[in-house]
Amino acid sequence: MKNILGRELPDYIEGYGKIEPFMGAFNNTGIKERKSVKVSSVTPGEEKVLASIEEALDKVQIKDGMTISFHHHLRNGDFVLNMVLEAIAKKGIKDITVAASSIFPVHGPMVEHMRNGVVTGVVANYMSGPVAEAISRGELKKPAIMQTHGGRPRAIESGDLHIDVAFVAAPTADTYGNINGVGGKSACGALGYAVSDAEFADKTVAITDNLVPYPACPIEISQIYVDYVVQVESIGDPKGIVSGTTKITKDPVGLKIAKMATEVIKASGLVKDGMSFQTGAGGTSLAVAAELKEVMKKEGVVGSFAAGGVTGYIVDMFEEGLFQNIFDVQCFDLQAVESYKKNLRHQPMSASMYGNPHNKGAVVNHLDIMILGATEIDTDFNVNVTTGSSGVIMGGSGGHSDTAAGAKLAIIVTNLMKARLPIIKDRVTTVTTPGESVDVIVTERGIAVNPRRTDLLEKLSNTNLPVMTIEELKNMAEKITGKPNTIHTSDDIVAVVEYRDGTVIDVVKKIK
């Protein structure tokens, strides 16, 4: 069968199950149910602190075939996923599904567990590094499931993704399981991606390197969800916790793109009091924030909120009074952590509050302007941020499709060519975000507006901006780079790409 984007899908995939094809960004809505959760009640006098991860594995009665979960707030500095998997492997447990909100190069040791059958399933919103490469080569038994930051809490809350045990890396935890991310040597700030896991898992184990006396205020994840607490020497490497890409680009091409994107935002009429804004932490995206900052200052505009993974640049705008609030699902640098710690209007949000399409309204629904990147874009405006030019998994939606769906103006900023490759193609290798959610593409050589947005086209036609069709943009790039050959993959499906509502938007095939 084909989904609405014309992507060929089987009806059923072994190791995944029946496929519900993607039929439009807001096709699968209406009355939804949350699953009920089993809770082991705790009575006065009971202790939650355990001596080791091994003891925790015994207490939660870990067994073959279980699904265990992790959050990615420690990013490429995370030690917890590797420690837990090693302990599980030592116990001889097999057939584990790892549901980690993201997987990074630091999680390379997992590849060995995939090869020896300890790990047979992976569910993640983003993955890069050895694990992603091994999955692309077909080294995982079941197809990996790629979700979105909003789709993951949806799946957990609905029961589509049942978590047997959630292991929550806790920068600070108390003896009764209250957790926060602002204290301790591994402080990472907001813990938005861990919230649904803790609430909906059958068992939740906090793993901390900063065990404090009760209570660990401010409490971000409450004791009422946490079964056990384990103290370890270190949950992560602070150097890896702070993301590497949170600097404004110095590349003149990136800066030019950012300037043009800001002109698009101005022309859209969205720069006004009460506006909301989100940008990723890539160099060009941050440059848009820097440009927009100047525009807002000049025009005396005060925004309602900035959202997202939060960087120091967003904090600066907030502290200068350009935004009244910040919604923070994850802090990207220490300045963001500090701000989150001290300012009540720097508000945490769970991943569900951020982007779950099946709750009573996510923050993305209130977004005016969203700045996004792309690995590939096709002439239908579909965007790929999941696979690279060779077909290997090197990312994933993260919040890409959630924010694109919600924002009034979703702007893709990208170089028209990266190295020797054109970015715009007839057909993207993998669809991550459907074209219907993408409003405009800004490159250094031209701007393409989604033909659905006739209003925006009209506004931009009154400017000096180089607006053209996406086909013209594609031809311009191909004139320089030539047309790249199609990547040949095998027929084996190595990953299923779920849209935020749980329907299947695409699949990733094994590389040859």
């Binding site: 110095k250 003149p252 091409v253 800066l255 030019k256 060519m417 190295a419 250094e444 050589r445 000096n464 004139k479 320089i480």
Partner: protein, 281 residues
């Protein structure tokens, strides 16, 4: 733009500069001179720089690379060649080589222009001869770094040490009706200093300024850009001129003041500049 960087050569034309210098000289190490020459040749042949002027800075003719630079680059017809450490003899020699290559390649005679890079005390003091020796010379670029080194003085941000050189270049260029292009400002992170330096050079009569990093382009343009009031006034001058033409008047006035040729010229330049900078459509 370093001539040995393909990515930069590819994008050089879209960064907002009116002219781009593809460099074969100081930005390219000795071991990469030949590969840079080939890359720049291919870039000129294949990259669409649209209406951006393409200038190639060659190596001086007294090095082993200079003559071959001209031999290879001139055949693909760049708009302009920038001659470093320019003096009369070198410009003459380049001019003669270009005459020959243009004839061989069927390029219109004199089509390839020259900009003299004045960066020695000798070049500065003989600047008239440097300009007059070839009709191809359409501009002078002042090279402040090498010049101050030759003068044995310290280069400063304030630029007092090049005050005379700037004046000398401006006067000679204006006398010969060619462009006077100011030396670059080398601190790429000091935009305020860049704006001051550009404003100073503009006030002395420089017609443009070179940038050492694409990030400097906007600041330079904003200094050289006409103000809103200047644009308004220029448009009114041109409107008044049109009206006078229609009415068959030779001489006319605006706001009670006579409008003569220099005012019309200035208004035309202002409007052209405003159009280029996208300030008016």
């Amino acid at each position: 733009m370093p001539g040995n960087n393909p990515g930069m050569l590819q994008n050089a034309g879209i960064l907002g500069a009116d002219s781009i210098i593809l460099d074969l000289e100081d930005a390219v190490s000795l071991t990469e001179k030949d590969s840079a020459r080939v890359l720049v040749r291919e870039a000129i042949k294949n990259v669409d720089y649209s209406n951006v002027e393409v200038i190639v800075r060659i190596n001086p003719l007294d090095t082993e690379f200079g003559a071959e630079d001209i031999n290879v680059i001139a055949r693909v017809k760049p708009d302009t060649i920038l001659v470093p450490k320019a003096d009369e003899a070198q410009i003459k020699q380049v001019d003669e080589m270009l005459n020959k290559i243009e004839a061989e390649e069927g390029i219109e005679a004199g089509a390839i222009k020259l900009i003299a890079l004045i960066e020695t005390a000798y070049g500065l003091e003989t600047i008239y001869d440097v300009i007059r020796v070839s009709k191809r010379v359409v501009g002078v670029l002042l090279g402040g770094e090498d010049l101050t080194s030759d003068l044995g003085v310290k280069r400063t941000k304030e630029g007092e040490e090049i005050f005379y050189a700037r004046n000398r270049v401006v006067a000679a260029c204006k006398a010969m009706k060619i462009d006077a292009i100011d030396t670059p400002f080398t601190d790429t992170n000091d935009y305020e200093g860049l704006a001051k330096d550009a404003a100073k050079a503009k006030s002395l009569g420089m017609t443009g300024k070179s940038a050492i990093n694409p990030r400097q382009i906007d600041t330079i343009h904003s200094v050289y850009a006409p103000t809103e009031a200047e644009i308004k006034h220029a448009l009114r001058v041109l409107d008044a001129m049109e009206e006078a033409k229609r009415e068959g008047k030779g001489v006319f006035s605006l706001d009670g003041k006579m409008v003569d040729a220099p005012i019309i010229n200035r208004a035309t330049t202002t409007v052209e500049l405003a159009k280029i900078l996208g300030l008016i459509r």
